[in-house]
Symmetry: C2
Subunit: 84 residues, 2 copies
């Protein structure tokens, strides 16, 4: 499964014992058709994550990538040791 190897390939050696959360949102719009709701979705997902994960917003890393018709948001959070 590609997603498992993708997730694991990002694991730094020093963080082997850490709990982590990664969310990837891929939106494919054929020839830019349809509504681009990713900016709003990004904010909503950040709010949802913060309901369950007690980390500051600045500790949630968000990357945006585009590859042709496909736009991808990637959220990476290293969870606190005890309350995650």
């Amino acid at each position: 499964m590609g997603i498992f190897s993708y997730f694991r390939s990002k694991k730094p050696t020093a963080q082997v014992a850490k709990n982590r959360l990664q969310i990837i949102v891929a939106h494919e719009r054929a020839q830019n058709s349809g509504y681009d709701f990713l900016p709003q979705l990004r904010q909503e997902i950040l709010l949802v994550v913060q309901k369950y994960v007690h980390v500051e917003l600045e500790n949630i890393n968000v990357d945006v990538n585009r590859d042709g018709d496909c736009e991808v948001l990637e959220f990476n959070v290293t969870l606190p040791d005890n309350k995650s």
Copy 2:
């Protein structure tokens, strides 16, 4: 980038022109430590997606996979042609 190839590998030929949304949530808990919030997160993400994508709940496909310490939720939605 693994995630792009993963996303693309799932593209059926007949759906090349469709707009699609895929969300992958990977939660890694070292030796099952920390709180398992994925069931709640799954519900919240479904609600958020439905705010922006006008599809019925039964048209949002959700898979759950586990690989060692890593649990993965995968949401797949084929978006309507005009209002997505």
